[in-house]
Subunit: 140 residues, 2 copies
């Protein structure tokens, strides 16, 4: 599992169309075509083949909690992102992991969960302070 | 070497302050504090320990050329980015690689080169079409 965490002034996402790659992808049902949030931590998350979902999702949630505390915001975007690895898990595991992360974060934060399985336009307006961007890899 | 390529409607960068980590970092001289570009390919580039700079920079330039051709734009942002790997090269190699990529791209494209060795606010306004975001790893 790999993640890129950004402290964002503004975030927007808009679904362009459903993805049809990789071949076996199963997009989720689309509930919201557009989403936006201000002053939040945006987590771009890539689930990889062989990930221990429970263990690595717990590690990810801890990193997000640390960052939220440091930037003094309680809003988080959970964004499935297929572009931090060439070793992607299947979509079942991807969707399952997003659910684990989302549900755990909802206990403490306001969470916006982006759609899994679509091409999206994306606005990332990222603050400039040290620690604004953090890369993490989780291998149990 | 790892890279994340985005097809951006808008891009802006503003230097917040010089970086003092990792310990041995040597920031470049600051020539422009703010930069902006529209309708361009933004390349976030992470140089890693052990990279064969010439070989991997050539591979990166080829990928950028392919993407520019596909999205029909001739503007490229070369953005040093320390957040795609935990195995960063030293800053001498990082700066050298950015120069190689920049000089090669300038033969064909309008190039905006972001500063190496600073914390920056960053605006990425990314188009939503398939192929808008591409992740590549280069290991010779």
């Amino acid at each position: 599992m790999r993640t890129l965490l950004f402290h964002c002034r503004n975030y927007r996402v808009k679904i362009d169309r459903l993805a049809n790659r990789p071949e076996n992808i199963s997009p989720e049902e689309v509930k919201e075509k557009d989403q936006a949030l201000e002053d939040c931590v945006v987590a771009l998350i890539t689930i990889e083949k062989g990930d221990n979902l429970k263990v690595n999702c717990d590690k990810l949630v801890k990193e997000i909690e640390i960052m939220c505390k440091e930037v003094s915001h309680n809003k988080v975007v959970v964004l499935p992102f297929a572009h931090l690895s060439n070793n992607l898990a299947n979509s079942n595991d991807g969707i399952k992991a997003m659910g684990l992360v989302e549900n755990e974060l909802r206990k403490k934060f306001e969470v916006l969960r982006a759609h899994f399985g679509s091409h999206k336009s994306l606005l990332l307006d990222i603050y400039g302070h040290p620690g604004n961007a953090r890369y993490r890899e989780f291998y149990d």
